[in-house]
């Protein structure tokens, strides 16, 4: 018996309103800013301590010291050695993370609600009385150096690193990974870690974010008890003006025997406080941020060249990169690159039609409540307010700002922010197999570059 199916998309029900949860914020006398987002009934609580001690704050001669400092913090306190600290936290069901990006360092944990206060006490002990054990320092430094080798063996991670290397000029810190290069990490001594911590891990530079079933007054009291004795102010991050290293060109990194080529095409994008932020988010999603994006539809669903293509802006405190990316089989490398560059160029010719604009914009608007389903998602959402000083009503007006982006705004953003004369086209693949065809594309002059 054949099934009788409804041919029409069913009409939606009545939407239930959703608002980003309210937060309360208080500055402690030592300058530490505490944010609490109470989520009644949540099963877990998330605690994030953010400090303006990321790679943008570090001494450029010792690039990677911010990351190494953050990692070394979890290897114990004056009272507890590395094993004892791991046991003390994990007995509470807590795995403490500590890491650094360009714009901040973050020590964090997630726990059952009843373990939040003892967890916070251990987190505070780790930050205020770090052990900085010489043996643990040497171990983590060696692991970091080995990890760089491992990352460069992975073609996708190698392409990401080399894209930044060739995109930014020699004076721009962003031309390296925030965790450093082998040369810069090699130069780091334990005294550099101590100095970075001493100077930058200070409460006036720090934000404590708590999201979960936590009473704000109890969080303020716990923060005061465990972090109130922390003192001092730090210089914070440096300011710099990122610059591109050169104009339009193809850079080919040889990886002999590769059966795919990793492609990256892009240029300098925007910073986090750019007035073009919302149009840029829509533009990025339209090019490569949703399944039906222009790059993915063409390269995957029409041509079958790749498992997936993506594109987008990576806004940072200073101008971050814009990039499009795909891994394509070796045989179609040149044609895939031509397609990518073509799509990044034609988006500047005409405004998107209503259907396309709606699909992309409505996705970004509609996905809002899904992003904040977990307390971890809520805590992460507070971070840009703390780090970049975005206005308190950021998430209250966020959807309206997105909805205000029209087709003309997207076109204007494409014309302003995408500059074909600047495109860096980075290819990691089997150079002997792809070089001649890449040169024959006539897209740009080709230079060979080492993959290290």
């Amino acid at each position: 018996m054949p099934a009788t199916m409804n041919p029409m998309r069913p009409a939606p029900g009545a939407p239930r309103p959703y608002h980003f949860p309210d937060f309360v914020r208080r500055e402690l006398p030592n300058g530490l800013t505490v944010w609490v987002v109470e989520v009644p009934g949540a099963a877990v609580v998330n605690v994030h301590l953010l400090v303006d001690a990321g790679a943008a704050a570090e001494d450029e001669a010792h690039g990677g010291v911010a990351a190494l400092t953050a990692q070394l913090l979890v290897t114990g306190t004056a009272r507890l050695d590395a094993s004892a600290f791991a046991e003390a936290t994990e007995m509470l069901g807590i795995e403490v993370s500590s890491e650094s990006s360009w714009d901040s360092a973050r020590a964090a944990f997630q726990s059952l609600p009843q373990h939040m206060t003892p967890g916070l006490a251990l987190l505070a002990e780790m930050v205020l009385q770090p052990r900085f054990d010489p043996g643990e320092f040497e171990r983590l430094k060696a692991e970091r150096l080995a990890d760089i080798l491992q990352a460069r063996a992975d073609p996708g991670r190698l392409a990401d690193e080399m894209f930044l290397r060739h995109l930014y000029d020699a004076g721009t810190p962003y031309r390296r990974l925030s965790a450093g290069t082998p040369e810069s990490v090699e130069s780091i001594g334990l005294e550099d870690v101590r100095a970075h911590h001493e100077v930058h891990w200070r409460p006036s530079n720090a934000h404590l974010i708590v999201a979960g079933p936590a009473d704000p007054e109890e969080v303020f009291a716990a923060a005061t008890e465990h972090l109130g004795a922390w003192q001092g102010s730090g210089p914070g991050h440096r300011t710099f003006e990122p610059r591109a290293s050169g104009g339009r060109r193809i850079v080919l990194v040889d990886r002999p025997g590769s059966v795919q080529s990793e492609l990256r095409v892009g240029q300098l994008g925007i910073d986090r406080r750019s007035p073009r932020y919302f149009p840029a988010m829509v533009l990025g999603a339209m090019l490569g941020g949703v399944f039906g994006s222009r790059l993915n539809l063409r390269l995957r669903e029409e041509l079958g060249y790749t498992y997936g293509a993506r594109a987008g802006f990576d806004p940072r405190r200073a101008t971050g990169p814009f990039s499009a990316a795909a891994a394509v089989q070796t045989e179609v490398t040149a044609d895939a690159l031509r397609e990518m560059v073509g799509l990044l160029s034609t988006v500047r010719d005409a405004a998107p039609d209503d259907t396309e604009l709606h699909e992309v914009r409505d996705y970004l608007v509609g996905v809002f409540p899904l992003r904040f389903e977990t307390t971890g998602g809520v805590a992460v959402a507070i971070e840009p307010l703390a780090v970049y000083g975005l206005p308190d009503d950021w998430w209250q007006v966020y959807r309206a700002r997105l909805e205000g982006v029209g087709a003309d705004d997207v076109l204007a953003a494409a014309r302003d922010l995408l500059r074909p004369d600047d495109y860096l086209m980075l290819v990691v693949g089997d150079a002997d197999k792809v070089r001649a065809e890449l040169e024959a594309t006539g897209l740009a002059a080709l230079e060979d570059a080492p993959g290290e």
């Binding site: 998309r9 080995a146 039906g292 509609g366 409540p369």
Partner: protein, 430 residues
């Protein structure tokens, strides 16, 4: 935490339904498990179950190619699908007022996929999947590890012998006839579980499900499950060394183990956490921190149900450390735990980590829906979602020791070692 509410139903055509309402956020998750995975593939068609999953996004009678994604993303939803050894799952999370959109899309492709299938679409997705294989396996350092472990732990003829991604040759051989046959055989309501979790009203949802799925006919001739019976042990040690484009050697140990759902599987899950979860775990403490032989370690049992499962351990050597030294250290730590058993404190440690991890996972309604489908599909017991914690906490030191001694034996292991290959610079010019 209080139990997750579960309401069960079964449509006349055999579709099993589990519902779990929670109105804390205005979102809803839909999840379908089809009881078909790569273990159901026939010889010469490895990779087909996964290729077929891709075809499920190529349109159906009332949905054009690409529209499934477009419909869901345009309402702010997220979606995907995945294929593994035992099953194929399809899932969406959307704002709750669009629940019916998900049910309509899922039912349309279950009712009427074949009219939309064309050779062009198949050829396109074949290329996409081959690029997925290149990306995740062939062009990836250590990328062949799971394929090699499966090929060694399960003999030829056993359908866990081959990987879910399949071989290039078999992908090339797949035809539209295969698509028709696979769909007619396995994509039937009586071979599936549909779960809904999140913000919805159960009676209304059930009526909607019946409206969209109720008229889809069952397959009265579902094939019996493949015969997966196998000896619980390999019977000897197997060794394999693979030169690869990697900077550091990596050692994998893999063992045949009891299947997911058994008490022994639970015992070995606890053993895996004692060995490898957290910085206070035995392998992290000794191999990474104290002896500094390893860069990283990982230990995990595979939650699969066909005849036997796999227990895998891997560690990457620190520069200057040989794979033999690393292997000996791994085996030494496993033996120490298997011989003396865990201490009370370390059992408490992994139990507390597990309790927090369960709560954290189940914060997401998509995860709730997926686990409900999993437990209903594999064991016909969706309520197992509420006993994850008690089953784990029931494992004591004696059970850990017994299970480790039964499973992590020399005559039941594969030692798979990746070593840096000679630089390919010396290769002959073509």
């Amino acid at each position: 935490m209080p139990d997750i509410p579960i309401q069960r139903a079964r449509l006349d055509n055999g579709l099993r339904v589990t519902l779990s309402p929670d109105d804390s956020a205005p979102i809803v998750a839909v999840n379908l498990w089809y009881d078909v995975g790569s273990k159901h593939e026939k010889p010469g068609r490895t990779g087909f179950a996964h290729l077929f999953e891709h075809m499920m996004f190529q349109g159906s009678k009332h949905v054009e190619k690409g529209e499934h994604f477009a419909h869901i993303q345009a309402v702010g939803g997220t979606l995907n699908a995945s294929t593994w050894l035992d099953r194929t799952n399809y899932f969406e999370t959307v704002p709750s007022h669009e629940l019916e959109l998900c049910l309509w899309l899922e039912s349309d492709r279950l009712a009427s996929l074949l009219p939309a299938m064309t050779q062009e679409k198949l050829d396109n997705q074949r290329e996409v999947v081959k690029n997925e294989r290149r990306w995740s396996v062939d062009n990836q350092p250590y990328g062949t590890w799971d394929e090699r472990i499966q090929a060694s732990l399960f003999p030829e003829g056993h359908t866990y012998h081959h990987s879910t991604i399949g071989s290039m040759e078999d992908l090339d051989a797949a035809s539209l006839d295969d698509v028709r046959e696979f769909f007619a055989t396995y994509y039937a309501p009586n071979n599936a579980v549909l779960s809904v979790a999140g913000d919805f009203e159960p009676d209304a949802a059930l009526a909607m499900i019946d409206r969209h799925f109720g008229s889809i006919p069952a397959n009265p001739a579902l094939p019996p499950p493949p015969d997966m019976r196998i000896d619980p042990h390999i019977g000897r040690e197997l060794r394999e060394e693979v030169p690869d484009r990697v900077p550091l050697p990596r050692v994998y140990l893999a063992f045949r183990m009891p299947v997911f759902g058994t008490d022994a599987f639970e015992d070995l899950t606890v053993a895996s956490d004692l060995l490898g979860t957290g910085r206070a775990s035995r392998l992290y403490r000794t191999l990474i921190r104290e002896r500094q032989l390893a860069q990283d370690v990982s230990v995990f049992p595979f939650p699969i149900v066909g005849g036997a499962s796999m227990f895998a351990v891997w560690a990457t050597a620190r520069p200057g450390v040989g794979p033999d030294q690393l292997e000996a250290a791994l085996l030494d730590e496993i033996d120490r735990l298997a011989t003396a058993g865990p201490g009370d404190a370390e059992l408490t440690r992994v139990r507390n980590l597990h309790a927090a991890a369960v709560e954290s996972s189940l914060e997401r309604i998509s995860e709730r829906a997926d686990r409900l489908s999993m437990y209903a599909c594999l064991f016909d017991q969706p309520e197992r979602i509420n006993t994850e914690r008690s089953r784990y906490w029931a494992v004591d030191g004696d059970r850990v020791r017994t299970a480790m001694n039964d499973t992590l034996r020399e005559d039941n292991r594969l030692v798979l070692t990746y070593v840096p290959a000679e630089a390919p610079d010396s290769r002959q010019a073509a």
